[in-house]
């Protein structure tokens, strides 16, 4: 365990038995949500920070679940004593998103009406549904108003959705490498993943539980995802055109280093993630559009009253900086100019999980300012 970590934490969960109404009109009951907390809620309950994870993350954002863990939570460099999200000051909460497979109800959960996993009988869930469930959890934890909601990528979408759907519920928002809707090119990448999973014969229309899982399809889908997490510059730096095998280039099976990387990460992912959850969460990402229900992107963003910080990275082509420009322009025109910092990085979209120095400094300074307000 690293010294300045949030220490040993336990993933907890709460189950709501009452009906949970989804944006689609469908109902889930019961709904379980897994979460972790770091630090303590202060007396006037004004120091709660909600961290929203990205596509395939979990509630385990910081610290260690066991003293033997080799790695801490996925954003441990940002959350802990003295860190950007300082657990000496803030009560930090992170919950696993609805539809995922890390303890929160999703397609691999048991459908009480059949006693078997939901599989495709699971309803399509949206970012708004995810946020609604987070709000329910926070109420249970005694948090009425958040000091901040923060997240990167799909976590940033949730932060934006908080600001628009519950404008009074959070004092500040931090939206990193994200946007109010993804680009058609991002949908195209998700399409590759969808086809790869669905065409794997083991997928069997989603009813693979207890049998062989659609491992190859999920791995290929994840490989396509990995391309979007990097950048052209990152590919050059990380791999170049170095060969990854001892075979001669004239061997049909010879590979480049970049292929080994994709294969390794693609298949490693299949050991930890459920294929149907992946499909449902990609779907939620695709159909997320901040403007739904508000008429336009402008009308939606007008609702934001929280103090907002937007962080983007120069080489991110999954959530290109022009998407952040758009939000800045609209919010500024609405008289609620956000803070915006573009960080120069070769890491592409992954930068929010890798570039901690400047990112942490910018977030610390922003939170300090909000606190003093």
């Amino acid at each position: 365990m690293k010294e300045n970590s949030a220490g040993l934490v336990r993933t907890q969960s709460v189950t709501f038995k009452e009906e949970f109404f989804l944006q689609s009109g469908r109902i889930l009951s019961p709904v379980t949500v897994a979460y972790e907390t770091y630090g303590s809620l202060n007396e006037d309950k004004s120091n709660a920070v909600l961290i929203c994870h990205a596509l395939t993350g979990s509630a385990h954002a910081a610290g260690y679940n066991s003293p033997d863990d080799e790695k801490p939570g996925w954003w441990d460099d940002m959350i802990g004593p003295g860190k950007a999200f300082d657990t000496d000051k803030y009560f930090v909460i992170c919950s696993n998103m609805l539809g995922s497979c890390y303890g929160t109800t999703g397609p691999s959960s048991v459908d009480p009406s059949t006693g078997r996993p939901y599989a495709l009988r699971f309803p399509v869930v949206t970012v708004k549904d995810m946020v609604k469930l987070q709000k329910k959890l926070l109420a249970r934890l005694g948090v009425e108003k958040l000091f901040c909601v923060a997240g990167g990528s799909m976590g940033g979408m949730q932060a934006l959705e908080w600001g628009v759907t519950y404008p009074d519920a959070a004092e500040s928002l931090i939206v990193i490498s994200s946007a109010g809707r993804i680009t058609p090119m991002a949908i195209a990448f998700n399409t590759i993943a969808r086809f790869a999973v669905k065409k794997d014969p083991n997928w069997m229309d989603g009813d693979y539980y207890g049998k062989a899982s659609p491992r190859d399809g999920l791995a290929i889908g994840r490989m396509a995802g990995h391309i979007t997490y990097l950048s052209d510059a990152a590919f050059h730096k990380k791999f170049g055109r170095r060969l990854g095998s001892q075979e001669s280039i004239y061997d049909f099976n010879s590979v480049y280093e970049v292929e080994n990387y994709l294969r390794y990460n693609g298949y490693k992912f299949t050991e930890r993630f459920d294929a149907n959850s992946y499909l449902y969460i990609l779907k939620a990402m695709d159909i997320f559009d901040l403007s739904y229900g508000f008429g336009s992107y402008e009308e939606a963003l007008k609702r934001l009253s929280a103090k907002t910080l937007l962080i983007d990275f120069t080489t991110d082509f999954l959530f290109p900086p022009y998407q952040t420009d758009e939000i800045v322009d609209i919010m500024t025109a609405c008289g609620n100019p956000p803070e915006r910092v573009t960080i120069d990085s070769d890491y592409g979209h992954d930068a929010f999980l890798l570039e901690f120095g400047e990112q942490a400094a910018v977030i610390s300074a922003f939170l300090r300012k909000v606190r003093k307000k």
Copy 2:
């Protein structure tokens, strides 16, 4: 048939019975090459232009193979009477590349030693091998020296290879949307295609001939390719976030227009292309490096003595403009500065097949200049 086309053309072929030595040290025998010609060879045999096709193209570059054909050859807008490659002036030849499946020997051809298709017994072929076979064909056609070699994408690689391997064989080179080696990110996209085909249970280590073909895998692989042929801007223009189905977004199977496009084009491709050919040609693309055998990229490019025109397109991220910058810089430092035109286009890599106006004008002017030299 359009009026100003090259008219009715027949794809011809020639078979070489003697041993054809490959760069890998392996041997093919016999080797057949399919080709088309447009216009006539002049008396002093000085007007021959070789057009090299891209990844999945064919020898059918212009005109119509039958009066009933709905579409002409793949570069008909550029090749024909009065066009950039003016068939009133030039004797234009286009041959199907080695390893492909449009009449030239490839993995789906019959291996004379077994009487069955080669499948994976086919040797790995390289761009240098493709060019060597073109040279053999030209000799057979009575062409000793080319007036020009031109091609886009993988066709441009062949043009560069001509210039470096046979510096005296062509008076001029036109290299479009191409480079002397692909980027690691391009290899990553090819990796997705490779895995998608190889993990399709119908692929059966390549021995699927006469049985069901690995259609799903090939379609998914091609979808990944299609992402690289477009650009972020093209995705916005062509599809935006428009829905492509009547279902509600809350339907698990609802799709966006971009998904319909990828699916349609992915599966359409499987009707015309052999999966093993795709793997072999992707391999040739990956392992192509102009510098092989010359020590360095600089040493290879130093060998170019032909008058060279490089065309690239602003939004091409498969062959990014910085790759053309690199060639220009090296050739200029070697005292053989090329002409270089960067065309502003939203079409991405596909631009060389779609943007004819400026491209045609630039090529016409270049060829005129070379002729007057």
